[in-house]
């Protein structure tokens, strides 16, 4: 036997490599898109993993703390801590904001961690450099993706923090790197008003005769202090004692504390199903468009290549070549094009993934699925050309 397809490809390899390369870039983009989606899911999971919690207790009827805002009194954790099955319950705050360092500023998720040290929920589980926060104020641990270095001075709102440690892959579900600071500082940062607002508020309080009582010295100061401190957190992170069902404990938190509690699977559903659902649909649309464009390109190229040799195909049919042989030739060329495209695409995606600002996770399973999708697309795209080729009348070879 002789493979007409491979002989044709060898003869016009330049054309094949060229189109294969173009197709490959398209496939590379497609694989990267899938990787972006996987990266988002993985970022979400990393966020949940790194928080070290078994349960997330948030404001009643909210999907906090990541997907919706949630606000709790910072005293509630005590009640949760006393519940059966709870091993630890700590306050935490999350706030996405610009963190300034010298001339530049970086978008980061500032995490306020309760005193405790490594192993406490909310704390970075491991460091790649430096040490954990030891003082209760003005120290920070930053993710390496922020670009900060140990010893850098960060400005968050009006306060300055010294970077004492670095972590890796600590990101928000948006892919923003995290900066950990002590809870008290974070609470202050979250609710800190600007100086003018504070002055204005003080002036107004002082002007109110109900607060400014000459007969009660200290009363005005207490009111002002109460106004400018913040006793809210976004969530309570809970770890469980071994042998306790997360769902059961979550149930009793919901029942007794009039709070909402989520288990790890529920949290994943919220992150994947709600927070990144729109982005996922967006990516899905892109994948569909890219698939259609790839199919159109393959169909067009294969059609043109077939049209280029339509006379030869008429001759092949005249001298008795089977339709099957001609169809196989065209289909094999389409598949070969897809193969070249896939290889180029896979290499492109693998080399370009680290260059993306957000995490791009290329799963082998996605590549395999992509490979088969490419083959299917190529086979389908070759059908137009095959149909045309099979319709060619062998009489055309004899001519008028």
């Amino acid at each position: 036997m002789i493979s007409l397809a491979s002989r044709d490809i060898l003869h016009s390899w330049g054309k094949f490599i060229f189109t294969g390369f173009g197709l490959g870039l398209l496939i590379g983009v497609t694989l990267t898109m899938a990787g972006v989606y996987r990266g988002m899911v993985d970022d979400g999971k990393a966020l949940l993993d790194n928080s070290g919690a078994d349960l997330w207790v948030v404001q009643q009827d909210t999907l906090g703390p990541y997907a919706e805002s949630s606000s709790l009194s910072d005293d509630l954790y005590r009640g949760v801590l006393a519940m059966p099955g709870v091993s630890n319950a700590v306050n935490v705050t999350y706030l996405t904001m610009q963190v300034r360092q010298g001339e530049r500023d970086v978008r980061a998720m500032v995490v306020g961690v309760a005193p405790g040290g490594a192993g406490t929920p909310g704390w970075p589980p491991y460091l790649v450099d430096g040490r954990q926060i030891t003082r209760s104020h003005y120290e920070a641990v930053a993710d390496i993706a922020t670009g900060f270095k140990i010893g850098d001075r960060l400005t968050i709102r009006r306060n300055q923090y010294a970077v004492v440690g670095l972590t890796r892959r600590m990101v928000s579900s948006n892919g923003d790197p995290m900066v950990f600071i002590p809870l008290r500082d974070a609470q202050e940062a979250q609710f800190l008003k600007d100086n003018d607002a504070i002055l204005e508020s003080r002036r107004r309080t002082a002007a109110n005769p109900a607060f400014n009582r000459p007969g009660a010295p200290g009363f005005l100061d207490a009111v002002i202090a109460a106004q400018s401190t913040n006793a809210s957190v976004n969530a309570v992170l809970v770890t469980l004692e071994p042998g306790h069902e997360p769902e059961a404990v979550a149930q009793s938190v919901r029942r007794w504390k009039r709070l909402t509690a989520f288990t790890r699977p529920e949290m994943e559903r919220i992150l994947v199903g709600k927070l990144i659902a729109t982005a996922a649909k967006q990516i899905g649309m892109f994948l569909v468009i890219l698939a259609v464009v790839s199919a159109a390109i393959v169909a067009f190229i294969i059609y043109t290549l077939t049209m280029d040799k339509i006379r030869e195909i008429a001759v092949l049919k005249l001298i008795g070549t089977r339709n099957r042989t001609i169809a196989a030739m065209i289909m094999q060329q389409a598949v070969a094009l897809g193969f070249i495209g896939f290889v180029v695409g896979k290499i492109t995606a693998s080399y370009s993934a680290p260059l993306f600002p957000k995490y791009v996770l290329l799963l082998p399973g996605d590549s395999i699925a992509g490979f088969f999708a490419v083959l299917v697309i190529c086979v389908l795209a070759s059908l137009v050309a095959i149909r045309t080729a099979l319709r060619v009348d062998p009489a055309e070879a004899i001519g008028g």
Binding site: M1, I2, L4, R7, D8, L10, H11, S12, K309, R311, E312, V315, L316, K317, L318, I319, G320, T321, R322, T325, D393, P394, A395, A397, I398, G399, G400
Partner: protein, 236 residues
């Protein structure tokens, strides 16, 4: 004349129907013996291509009877079922333009049919080499078609037409693109091959240079054939 060769009796072909019907062949009668080369000449529109297509089993005649080799291929509306296999095994085609497959070298262009039919590549190539040698193009066996001269291409296409040892070769203006020396060479080759492989060959032509070489000539006019004795000049 035995059962072999080509025999055409009362062949008719009508294109279309009703008011627009064209009777391209009205009464075609021909008989070509194995080893014989006959000319088919006629003015434009007289039905030459239609006759070749009918004989080449790519269009269906309307009436009449055709025998190729020892096989009846068409008889008053009845026809052989597998026309593709018939073309592959019984008929060699040579065209005005050689239509070689551009991505196969000379040997594989000739060896293509047996290779596709499942013969061992080495056997098919050996057979191709034999023909290329007979046609004096074996020195170009590994060249690509685009690297050949017009005459060389034509000889390769003749070799391709001969590879399955068909009892019949249909040649459509095989010398049109060639100068007179090359044209004569092609005719000489066709005559040689006819003798060597007992092939019946019909050459459709307008070419004044080669007409005197035929011993017998069929004239076709308005779809009707007339037999005529040719000069049968020896080919140098």
């Amino acid at each position: 004349m035995g059962a072999k060769g080509i025999r055409i009796e009362g062949l008719k072909k009508r294109y279309g129907s009703g008011d627009t019907a064209v009777d391209a062949l009205k009464s075609v009668n021909m008989e070509i013996a194995p080893g014989e080369v006959v000319g088919l000449i006629g003015p434009s529109g007289s039905g030459k291509s239609t006759l070749l297509k009918s004989l080449g089993a790519v269009i269906d005649p309307t009436a009449g009877r055709m025998t190729l080799g020892d096989e009846v291929i068409y008889d008053e509306g009845w026809k052989v079922r597998d026309l593709r296999a018939l073309r592959r095994d019984k008929i060699g085609f040579v065209f005005q333009a050689p239509y070689l497959i551009p991505f196969l070298d000379v040997t594989d262009n000739v060896a293509l049919l047996p290779m596709l039919a499942g013969a061992r590549n080495s056997d098919a190539r050996a057979r191709a080499m034999e023909l290329l040698t007979a046609l004096d193009v074996h020195h170009r066996a590994r060249a690509m078609p685009s690297q050949l001269s017009g005459g060389e291409q034509q000889r390769v296409s003749i070799a391709r037409g001969l590879i399955n040892r068909p009892p019949v070769i249909l040649a459509d203006e095989p010398t049109a693109p060639l100068d007179s020396e090359r044209a004569m060479a092609v005719i000489r080759i066709l005559n040689d091959m006819a003798k060597r492989f007992e092939t019946a060959i019909i050459v459709v032509t307008h070419d004044e240079k080669i007409i005197p070489t035929f011993k017998r000539i069929y004239h076709i006019r308005d779809g009707v054939t007339h037999e005529e004795v040719g000069e049968g000049r020896a080919v140098a």
